[in-house]
């Protein structure tokens, strides 16, 4: 049976803190008009992904139908409705990276982690994403792990690099 959000928050102070942070962000907005995407960005930052209860909360707070909120979440690649691993590995498959051998890098990462783009390793350590250019094309091929961008990557370099992320 699903508990309602309030009871869950009572039981889970960690979760409450997260919702409070989101509430605080929304409370400080000058206007709610047009703020949905910004709010979702913030929510994903706080929760790591966008679970249903967060989307319901957002739809209530911004006073818009759930269908609108879901419609936006599913339209944009950036938003995820499933939890992500501790580290997010994004391999760039933009043009510059592609012509400089990004496919081999991507294949190596897939092989090393045993997952495809959009998936998370079973131990929750890594999620793998594909991106279309992060603007460091001059250093192609490029791999981004969490907030660090690595240029001039090779399959071998990336495999070594992954070890650094526990």
């Amino acid at each position: 049976m699903k508990m309602n959000l309030e009871d869950r928050l009572e039981e889970n102070p960690e979760l409450k803190k997260q919702f409070d942070a989101l509430e605080a962000y929304i409370g400080e907005l000058a206007t709610l008009e047009g703020s949905l995407i910004n709010v979702l960005h913030r929510a994903q930052e706080i929760f790591g992904y966008l679970p249903d209860e967060v989307l319901e909360f957002v739809s209530g707070r911004l006073n818009m139908p759930r269908s609108t909120v879901y419609g936006v979440v599913t339209f944009y690649h950036f938003f995820s409705r499933v939890p992500k691993g501790r580290h997010i590995v994004s391999v760039c498959l933009g043009t510059a990276c592609y012509v400089r051998g990004a496919n081999a890098v991507y294949e190596k990462v897939m092989k090393t982690l045993g997952i495809k783009a959009g998936e998370t390793t079973r131990d929750g350590r890594f999620s793998l994403d594909l991106v279309r250019c992060v603007g460091a094309c001059g250093l192609a091929p490029v791999v981004v792990i969490d907030k660090d961008t690595y240029g001039r990557s090779t399959p071998e370099k990336v495999a070594t690099l992954l070890n650094k992320y526990a």
Binding site: F75, V99, R132, G135, G138
Partner: protein, 594 residues
């Protein structure tokens, strides 16, 4: 803290050539110098260059030392790690590494450029508004606020500035339309979505000179009568967002944003909106929906944003680079702006040089510069002694410029004549090893992913084209495919709602136009002339070159290679998945790819 890593090959060939003790020597020397905590020694598997072994690679710099012996291993520690000097005698010198050959003087990369848009990038601290002011920043705003709005628009019209976001629409006309449009409030929007993969000019400006965009948007606000501006930056550019946010704060603090700017009674403020990974949001009508917090689907034009944009109000939307030109035009005048570039496309253009070119980077040159100057003089040519094949412009909406047009001056109009577009300035250089069918397929795959799905020709049509391209690359091309592709392309171009669909077939059409022979080779001969399309390749072993080292057999993931030590090896074609590992691993050139 680890400051260096030594990768020591511990693969079979290297151990037999003495690796174990090389590693011991390295570890000993590190200890002697007391830097064993700073340098990590890592044993790796075969690095695939066994004939050069034992091999030691020093990271982070990636210096590749070959034929290291017990006697000279100490040098790597004492010279390279302690003194920071590379050990010349152990360096691997192959053409590929000559690329890294040290330059000993100025390189032509900078001398050929005309820096206007990029004049502050790299020259000032982007976090310092004072340094921006020291380079005449915000003086253009001061000057503009003393002028009548119509006067500002007049200057822009005279300058002949055309939008740098891709289409090249005259900026002055856009401003005029937004000024004359009825309705209020009005909005100013900056398009920093930069969706073309391989382009990074706008990012560099947002990161390196954010105040120039703030200043230009304020001028635009004054000129069209808007008090509010939005900058739309893609989520993939976190540093640009951070720097821009900071710059907005500083500009407010100094009173260049906010109420009664410079005491004139003009109010203006800017907000950042962050994209969320949808290429179509670079299209202006989709971008405006996204700023409104909605799904970024394009809408039919007209009405144009200048008439009915954000929340159905008149909205001026320009690209980052377009704005970056504005303050200097106000300061120096239209004549100055026209002093470089071509008559119909005055000014400069920033190109992002990427792909198979030596000096990848951002270059700003007068409009009308030739591709040859860009790729060979500024770009330093193609690495590895390869031949130039083509340059791709306009990203997924564009096409190729081939070698025969190397001397054509590049501006908005000339590139159109040969079936591509200027686009935002991404310039991907392709060398002789690139397969044009594969490149076109790559772009089409991109559009299929990014089509918003609103209209059928784009959503379904590009998918059909993609399947056909896939079939061709997989060796299942059929007679008539080229004609079918061209026909479908025409339909998609004619009937799609927005620019994404209308231009999606361009990479295919452009490559068919110039490289039809490659398409034919794929379809009729089932061959990929550039050896790229995996399914059209066969790997085989040339018996008289094979020495039976077994390297290939060990590499093959599907065990398709058989043979005994020192005997000729064979590939079982029915098992081979064409992964190419064996090709990479044979150092006797015995494996053929065709």
């Amino acid at each position: 803290m680890i400051r260096n890593q030594l990768l020591v090959c511990a693969g079979g060939a290297c151990i037999t050539s003495g690796e174990k003790s090389v590693k011991d020597v390295l570890v000993d020397e590190l200890k002697k110098n007391g830097i064993e905590d700073e340098v990590q020694v890592i044993e790796t598997g075969c690095m695939g260059a066994c004939d050069l072994g034992p091999i030691v690679v020093v990271y982070p710099e990636g210096t590749f030392y070959q034929k290291v012996t017990v006697k000279n291993a100490g040098l790597i520690v004492n010279e390279h790690l302690v003194k920071g000097r590379t050990v010349g005698e152990l360096l691997y010198t192959e053409p590929a590494s000559e690329k890294r050959a040290r330059t000993s003087g100025d390189i032509p990369f900078y001398t050929r450029q005309v820096k206007r848009v990029l004049r502050n990038c790299g020259a000032i601290d982007p976090l310092s508004i004072e340094e921006y002011i020291a380079r005449d920043g915000y003086f253009a705003l001061g000057k503009a606020l003393e002028m009548a709005p119509d006067e500002i628009i007049r200057i822009l019209l005279d300058s002949g500035l055309r939008g740098r976001g891709g289409a090249g629409f005259p900026t002055g006309l856009k401003w005029k339309a937004a000024r004359e449009a009825a309705g209020s409030p009005k909005y100013v929007v900056c398009n920093g979505d930069e969706g073309d993969p391989g382009a990074f000019m706008d990012r560099s400006v947002l990161e390196g000179d954010p105040h120039s965009i703030i200043e230009a948007m304020a001028i635009a606000g004054y000129a069209i009568g808007a008090e509010k501006g939005y900058v739309y930056v893609r989520a993939e550019y976190p540093l640009a967002i951070e720097r821009f946010e900071y710059a907005i704060g500083k500009a407010r603090e100094y009173g260049f944003l906010g109420r009664s700017i410079l005491g004139t009674g003009f109010n203006f403020d800017i907000e950042i909106r962050i994209g969320a990974g949808a290429f179509v949001c670079g299209e202006e009508t989709a971008l405006l929906r996204s700023i409104e917090g909605k799904r970024g689907t394009p809408s039919v034009k007209p009405p144009f944003p200048a008439q009915s944009g954000l929340w159905n109000k008149p909205t001026l939307i320009n690209n980052v680079e377009t704005y970056a030109n504005i303050p200097q035009i106000i300061t120096n005048g239209a004549e100055w702006f026209r002093s470089v570039g071509s008559t119909k496309s005055p000014g400069t253009k920033v190109f992002a040089l990427a792909g198979n070119v030596q000096n990848t980077g951002l270059v700003e040159v007068p409009m009308g510069t030739t591709l040859r100057e860009l790729v060979f003089e500024i770009g330093g040519g193609i690495p590895g002694g390869k031949k130039f094949k083509a340059a791709q412009t306009g990203g997924p909406s564009g096409g190729v410029i081939t070698a025969e047009y190397l001397d054509m001056p590049i501006d908005f109009d000339t590139v159109k004549e040969i079936g591509t577009i200027m686009g935002s300035g991404g310039l991907i250089v392709l060398d002789e090893d690139s397969c044009m069918v594969d490149v076109a397929k790559f772009y089409l795959g991109f559009t299929v992913d990014e089509s918003c799905g609103k209209c059928t020709p784009c959503r379904e049509g590009t998918r059909q084209m993609y399947h056909m391209m896939e079939r061709i690359c997989d060796g299942n091309g059929r007679d008539g495919d080229i004609e079918r592709l061209s026909k479908l392309a025409d339909v998609i171009k004619d009937t799609s709602l927005c620019g994404l669909g209308q231009s999606a077939p361009n990479p295919v059409l452009s490559t068919i136009r110039f490289y039809e022979d490659e398409y034919r080779a794929h379809i009729y001969e089932k061959k990929c002339p550039s050896h790229v399309c995996k399914h059209l390749l066969t790997y085989s072993i040339t018996p008289d070159k094979c020495v039976g080292c077994t390297a290939c057999a060990r590499q093959c993931p599907v065990h398709a290679i058989t043979g005994e030590v020192k005997k000729i090896h064979v590939i079982d074609q029915s098992k081979c998945t064409k992964c190419g590992s064996c090709y990479e691993s044979c150092r006797f050139g015995a494996i053929r790819k065709e």
